[in-house]
Symmetry: D2
Subunit: 239 residues, 4 copies
Amino acid sequence: MYLLIDEKGREYLVKGVSDVHTNYGVITVEKLRKENVGKTIESHTGRRFFLLKPEILDFIKKAKRGPQAITLKDCALIVGYAGIHSGSKVVDAGTGSGILAMFLANIVNPEKVVTYEIREDFAGIARENFKKANLKNIKIKSKNIYDGIDERNLDLITLDLPEPWMVVEHANKALKVGGFLVSYSPSIEQSKKFYNALNGFRSETVECLLRNWDMGVVRPYSRMLGHTGFLTFARLIEK
Amino acid sequence: MYLLIDEKGREYLVKGVSDVHTNYGVITVEKLRKENVGKTIESHTGRRFFLLKPEILDFIKKAKRGPQAITLKDCALIVGYAGIHSGSKVVDAGTGSGILAMFLANIVNPEKVVTYEIREDFAGIARENFKKANLKNIKIKSKNIYDGIDERNLDLITLDLPEPWMVVEHANKALKVGGFLVSYSPSIEQSKKFYNALNGFRSETVECLLRNWDMGVVRPYSRMLGHTGFLTFARLIEK
Amino acid sequence: MYLLIDEKGREYLVKGVSDVHTNYGVITVEKLRKENVGKTIESHTGRRFFLLKPEILDFIKKAKRGPQAITLKDCALIVGYAGIHSGSKVVDAGTGSGILAMFLANIVNPEKVVTYEIREDFAGIARENFKKANLKNIKIKSKNIYDGIDERNLDLITLDLPEPWMVVEHANKALKVGGFLVSYSPSIEQSKKFYNALNGFRSETVECLLRNWDMGVVRPYSRMLGHTGFLTFARLIEK
Amino acid sequence: MYLLIDEKGREYLVKGVSDVHTNYGVITVEKLRKENVGKTIESHTGRRFFLLKPEILDFIKKAKRGPQAITLKDCALIVGYAGIHSGSKVVDAGTGSGILAMFLANIVNPEKVVTYEIREDFAGIARENFKKANLKNIKIKSKNIYDGIDERNLDLITLDLPEPWMVVEHANKALKVGGFLVSYSPSIEQSKKFYNALNGFRSETVECLLRNWDMGVVRPYSRMLGHTGFLTFARLIEK
C-alpha cells in the first residue's frame, strides 16, 4: 500500500496494482513502485505528489464510514481518559464501520479487541476496513450486547449504541474493578439516562470541541464541527 | 500502592505503609491491607472509601506537576493524531514534570521514550514521578534539544518548549518519513513562528476545548479551562 | 457619581461625598471634585487613577447581584436576536437583582420596562440598583407571572424563571404577532420542557461561549465561564 | 412589506406588489393583501405560510450581504459591551453592505449613525439595504477614515477594516472620554497590531462562539460557525 499526498494536502491510499487517477492527473503504477518514500512523484500533467508508507492512522482516516462514525478526537479521548495501552482488555459495541475498534486495536495490540455487532451489513463494512489496514487483533462477535457480555476482567467497554443504559448491569460483571465503561451519545438525553442507570460507578461526562486554525492568516477556520457526541466515562469502583 | 476514593470523588494515592489521614477521618494501614479492591473501607469516623488498585492513568493524574503542565486531553490528542502505539519510537522535550513522557511511555511500551531536559530540578521531579508509577521505559537525557537529536527513524517528536522552531531542522533528520513533529504552545504567536519554520512537513494546528457536564442538573459546569495550548501536528512528507 | 479606574483596570464607582479608600491608597473627595474626566488623579500613596463619568453600562456592571445573575453577553444577545430598540414594549420576569431589566430599560427608553417579581427581598435589591443608575423607566410589579400577564401588544417577554413553560399561554395573549418570548435557563432539561410547551411559536435555542484573550502573550485566558444559560428565542407567528 | 414563513421555517420578505413564488407554490398578491398578520395563508398547492409584519431585525437578517459580513451575535455584543442606546453618537467604518450600521441605527434612533465607505459599489449595496428597511437615520460618508474623523464627542466608533490601527489616533480625538473604539478583525494578528497601537485606552479582546441546539433530539447541531472575528473593545480613559 502507498499513501500519496498532493499539493493541496489531499491524500490517496492506493494498493499499487494499477495506475492512480487523481484530480491532478495520472500516476503510473511503474513510477509508484520505483520511487522511495519521502520522495516526490510527478503525474503525467507534471503535478507533484509526496510518497509515504501508510500507517494504521492513515487506514483509520481513510476507512469506509457511515455519516455518524466516531471522530478521531473522541477515539483519542477514550484511550486517554480510560488509560488503556498495549495489553489492555477491551470490548466494543456496536461495531458500526469499525473505526473505534481499529483505533483501540492499534493501541492494545497484541491483545485482541472484541467488538459486538448484530447487523451483518455493518460487520461486512468493518471486516473490509480491518482487512485493508491489516489489523488482525479484532474479533467481530455477532451478538447483541444488551443480552450480556461473555468476556470478563475487562479494562474497558466502549458503547456507541442508542440505549447504552441496557449494558450497565452486564458491564458490572464484565469489568474488573477500576475498569471503564465509556458511552458515546449524540444526545444529552441519552447521556442522562445512561448516567441515571449507573450503579457502582463513578462517572464524568464531557464533550470535546476541536477547532482548526488557518495558520496562514492566523485565525480559526469558519467551518467547525459544533458537536459529535457526549462522552461519559464511568469507572467501576465497587463490586 | 492503593487508590482510595471518598464519597465526594476525591482520590488518595497511598503506599499502604502508614495510616491514611483524609478529610473524612483516618484509615489504618491494617484495614487497608486486609481489604480487597472493589470493596469499601470505613474511616474511624465511619465515612466510606472505595478501594482500587491504581493504574498508570492514576499515577499520571496524581503526578507532581508545575502549573503549566500539559493536560490529559492534549496528551490524548497527541497520541490519537500521531497514531502511535506499542513499539512506536518517540522523543519528547522538554521533560518538565514528565507528564507527557509518562503518557507516551504507557502507550509505546515496551519501547522506550527518550525525553530531553536541561534543568536538573525538573529532571528530578520527573524521575520521582516515573518511579512512583513504576514506569521503567523512560530515559531522561540531559541535553538541549536545540543542539540536535541523537535518535533516528523516529515516529514522533513532541515539543513543549518556548522556541519549538529551533528543533525543526533536527526533527527533519531524526524523524522517519511519515513521522510526526508535534508542538504544544500556549501562545498562538509561538505556533505561528513554528508553522513558518516548517519545511518538508504538512501541518495542522488545533486547539481542544473540553467541557464537563453536571449530569445531576444536566448543564455544563460554570468553571471551564478556556485554554491550555495550541497543538501543531507536522508530518514529515519529504526527505 | 464618578468612575475611577486604577492601573490594574479595577473600577470604583463612587458618589463623591466622601474620601475613596482603594487598594492603592486614599483619594480625597476634594481632589475628586476638582478634577475633570479624562484626567488622572493621584492617591495619597502616589498611585494613578483615571477619572470617568459613569454610563448606564457601568452601573449595570457594578450592580449588586446574586451569584446566578444573567451576564452581559446574554443580555446583549437577547436585545440583538429579539431586535428591540427605543420604544419597544417589554415585560421581564423574574426581576432578581434587576440586571436584565436595567439593560433592557437602557435600550427601550423612553418606553417603560415592566418587571414581575414576587419576592420582596429581590425587588428591594433591584430597586436600589435602579436608583443608583438613575433609571426611571422600570416598573416592578409584585405579581407572579405564572398567573398571567396584564400587558398587551408586547414586543418582548424575557423569562429567567425555574418553570418558563408556565408562561407560554399567557405570552401568547400578551405578545403582538412577531414578538419574542425569550427564556434563559441554566439546565437544558428546563429548555427542553419550555420548547415542548411552545405553541404558535417558531423557536431557536442557543448558548454563547465568550472567550477573553490575553493580548500581551496572544492566547486565551485559562479561566473561562464554561456555561451561563441556554437562551431560547420563541417568536409568535400565529395568533 | 410582508414576512412569510413556511412550514420549514424559511422566511420570505416580500413587497406585496406581485405574486410570491416559493419552494412550496405560489401565493397571489390578492390573498396576501387580504390576510391579517398572525394568520396563515395557503399557497396554490395547499401549503401553509405564516404572515407577519417585518421588523428592522428581519430587514437586517435579509439584507444583501458579502460573504464576510458581520454576524448578528457580534453586532449584539458591540451594542451590549459598549453600552449604547437611543441617542448615542456613533461612527462606523467601513460600511460594507451596511449590516452593522443598520443594527446600530435601530438602537441609537432618533440619533444618526455616520458610516464611512470609500468604495462606491459597497455604498450602493448599503444604500439599497437601508432603503428597503426604511432606515433614515444613517448617513454614508464617502471618506477614508484612515485620513481622519470629522465627528466629535462620540460614544462609539466601530471598525471593520483591514488596518484598524490606522484609526487609533483619530479616535482619540473623536471619542468622548469613556467612549468606545471597537474593532472587529478575523485574524488575531490584526487584533494584536490594533492592541499594540492603543494609547489612552483600556481594552479587552473577546471572541464569541454561538452554538445552536436541535431541541428535537436535544443535541447541538453538527454544523457550527467556528469563527467570525475577534472583537476588541477599547475604552478611552485618558485625554
